[in-house]
Amino acid sequence: MSILILLLVLMIVGAIIAIETTNMLSSIVCIGAVGFLLSISFLFLGAPDIAITQIVVEVLCLVILIRATITRDLTTVSGDREFFGLTVSLALILVIGIVGIKAMDAFPRLGLSVMDRITDTSSTAYLAQAETATGASNAVAAIMLNFRLYDTIAQVGVLFFAIIGALAILRRPARKGGREAETETDAV
């Protein structure tokens, strides 16, 4: 458990560095470090499925971030912050923090399942029947792909439509930018 807390502290440090640093590349690298530490902490919590997904998506996101955003124009925020906005956001953070700490009291210790404390939930039935009903020895896959298959298909549908929308938005400006760049090099 102490390793997990160490990982969490390192993740927070990485996230703060990612926000505060002025270099775009080091910021992206810090985000990647946060993702990898999150993947390791999933392993310590006993969730290898999620750990694999996390590390794989993290690698892909890093590559896309570095390739796609690092050459673009970087917008910088300048000027003083407004006093009113700062006060309101600080107050909101304070309230949410207090409520979150209160809510954490009701949770089980870090790394234990909430569902362990409640009898007769669907999760206990799923876990009991996972191997006999589906023939799959991986209970996570049994739940995701058999008991809750509609959920999984809907998630893939969300991903599909998000990507289709992204393609529809991104395609045209990319071509136009390419032609403009071409004419500029010709003029030079």
């Binding site: 499925d49 794989v56 590559v63 896309i64 896959a141 792909l145 549908g157 393609l167 990319a174």
Partner: protein, 153 residues
């Protein structure tokens, strides 16, 4: 190298290593997709690994080689076919039980079918997104259209 010619891909070392590794990465992705019922993995993670093997090809050897392996139209089409298959499974699940037993495989077979569909959708569409987001703009030179890597010219 001349300033005006677009560089295709990276160094020789990177190219050779990527060439050797891409098959194994693809194989690992396929393993994650197919065997998720008794080991960690799953369609989504395996699909992303397969997309990563194609992205490695794009980064190392340039986009023309990668698009020759899996064209953009082919990739988008395969992703669409996978999504339609998932939709068909979705619809078939609502049929009455006797008819459902005929159409859909049961148990592990259904799980593997769904995993393969999810893997195809995720890998192909993520590859298309990467090749549009990170890799191209189209260059027209001497009447021939070709794509070059953004940020490298």
């Amino acid at each position: 190298m001349n300033e005006n010619t677009p560089r295709r891909g990276m160094d020789m070392v990177v190219k050779v290593i990527a060439h050797r590794l891409k098959g194994f990465i693809f194989l690992f992705g396929a393993y994650l997709v197919v065997s998720s019922h008794h080991s960690p993995g799953g369609g989504f993670a395996g699909g992303v690994v397969i997309a990563c093997s194609l992205i490695l090809l794009t980064l190392a050897e340039g986009q023309q080689v990668a698009l020759k392996t899996v064209g953009k139209t082919v990739a988008a089409g395969l992703g669409g076919v996978g999504a339609l298959l998932l939709l068909a499974i979705f619809a078939a699940g609502m049929l009455p039980a006797e008819l459902k037993a005929v159409i859909l495989p049961s148990g592990v077979g259904l799980m593997q079918l769904c995993d393969v569909c999810i893997g195809v959708v995720v890998s192909m569409l993520l590859f298309v997104v990467f090749s549009i987001l990170a890799a191209t703009h189209i260059e027209e030179k001497a009447g021939k259209r070709r794509m070059i890597m953004r940020g490298r010219d």
